[in-house]
Symmetry: C2
Subunit: 320 residues, 2 copies
């Protein structure tokens, strides 16, 4: 952002400032500056839409993390939802309630955090809504993408006996990783191209919760996870030393890892592990069961039921 001339504080100046920094893209014939943006969806594809709202004090702390980190995270978590359908992101729409006393500065910081990430994934910042108020910063982003043949990968396709994988280590994201997740867009597309994925989700609420979404949407199935096979992040170890919870408990329940959790047919499992489509890294963590509920198998072979305790956006207040 070496071309940054501070915009005047008016809304239209700010929008113009952003608009001048938005490169043209043939997929977005109409970007910022009209009543709507217009986006071309490929023939045969469906539009994918996801939206996530982040609030100061809940998903981030503006004073501590700064607006660039917030902009990055707000876009990344939406891109992660496109990855969770094995789709291609096309355009982002950014609605903000800016703290009035530093509205233009925060807007520029958000923009600076978003643009490199958007550019890396070919996403056009194609519109939004800019407001200021006396309340805390709220950033609500909607990402428009498109499905890739043979179609989106849903949560609902798991079957008993299927193998469960995750793409990376989990737990302890609150130590800082939750601010700069890597959306697994490229990994999801590579997996979707090479394998018939039965079900796919990104780990946002927590592995146990998100896997439970897959099992519920697949008709009330269950799963048995191998405790020794779940990749535990070093941050989960560090948090465990602080709070006395086990690192595995952090890996199962912390969330905001934004790795992918995927389910494939048993006959694909060995091939997937032997020849993971680059750049995806894969850990087989368990198996889908016909009996409802989540179970954890210890290295010694004991099986105990576990309950998801992931992020409930209405009840708890864990982030920020």
């Amino acid at each position: 952002m070496n071309q940054s001339v501070p915009p005047a504080p008016g809304e239209f100046d700010l929008i113009d400032w952003i608009r001048r920094r938005s490169p043209a893209d043939e997929r977005v014939p109409l970007g910022i500056g009209d009543d709507c943006a217009a986006v071309r969806i490929a023939a045969g594809a469906q539009a994918l839409v996801t939206t996530d709202m982040l609030m100061d004090g809940r998903h981030f702390r503006l004073a501590e993390h700064g607006p660039e980190a917030v902009g990055y995270k707000a876009l990344a978590v939406n891109l992660s939802d496109i990855a969770a359908m094995a789709g291609v992101p096309l355009a982002a729409f950014v609605a903000v309630a800016l703290p009035r006393d530093r509205a233009a500065e925060v807007a520029r910081g958000l923009h600076a955090g978003m643009t490199p990430l958007a550019a890396r994934f070919g996403v056009v910042l194609a519109g939004g809504d800019t407001n200021a108020w006396d309340g805390p910063l709220v950033v609500s982003i909607t990402v428009l993408g498109e499905t890739v043949a043979p179609g989106p990968v849903l949560r609902s396709g798991a079957r008993p006996g299927d193998a469960i994988f995750v793409t990376g280590p989990l737990g302890g994201s609150l130590l800082g990783r939750h601010l700069h997740p890597e959306p697994r867009i490229v990994e999801a597309l590579a997996l979707h191209r090479a394998f018939a994925l039965r079900a796919l989700i990104d780990v946002s609420d927590g592995l146990a919760s998100d896997l439970d979404h897959i099992l519920t949407e697949s008709g009330g199935l269950g799963a048995t996870l191998d405790a020794g096979a779940i990749p535990v992040h070093a941050d989960a170890e560090a948090m465990g030393r602080q709070d006395g919870r086990s690192p595995l408990d952090h890996a199962l329940n912390d969330g905001e890892d934004f790795e992918l959790c995927l389910v494939v047919a048993p006959e694909d499992a060995a091939r997937l592990l032997a020849d993971p489509p680059s750049p995806a890294r894969l850990h087989r963590i368990g198996t889908v069961d016909s009996a409802p509920g989540l179970r954890l198998r210890s290295p010694a072979g004991d099986v105990t039921p576990i309950r998801p305790r992931g992020f409930d956006h209405l009840a708890s207040d864990r982030r920020g």
Copy 2:
């Protein structure tokens, strides 16, 4: 809403409650419940996307207006942006920051305000993001639509000599009309079908401001408005009696009327007035000029420059 069973306060219960009330629609093969929604865009059409964020104390007052009115307004203003492209709305995505102490009640009220409007225009509530916090209510809606042949009507197509129309009386919306605007979807589609619209916008910031957007986007043109021809709403008269500003000033600058302002070629103007495509009502209010700037012609024939003083979302605090 006679089937309303109060949902438990958890996020997933609330999402399930909303999901059970979302009718299936062949245009939306995947609605609430996965990482993204999937929407079919008609062959040859482009996706249209618009987003508007409404905040308590700024665009509404929750304690006074209640959540149903807020839900209606939040969806209606987005639908109005689709109308302003002469597009067809398909799906809405609703991100909310709910006041924690009455989150479920407010969510249900918002939903009750949106659903009849959505149903009337064939719009599917296809996704969103539900959060609670200690701050004021924030509702950010994104609407996905599609263009209608021969394409979207932009702001940028006006030419000198073109005739300027609006679809209804303006001014004084703050007395209450701003809460329940009628999105001019049907009118825009009828106009687009019958005439080659050169430019189109909805009156949200104020007639003078919104017309100025058209003139600026059309290459720096101007316009002369006939003071006697601008339809002034009775609310503008009432507000004028309260604050001493002229009713015409209110009609030019208040905004949130959500009528359409359209521009057609001079040869279409008489036909448009003689045979307005139902249900659109049309008022010819002026003419596009090659000389930049807005001018007002009095009934006596005097022409004076005027400056738009419409809503700046960063600077002022007029709504609510």
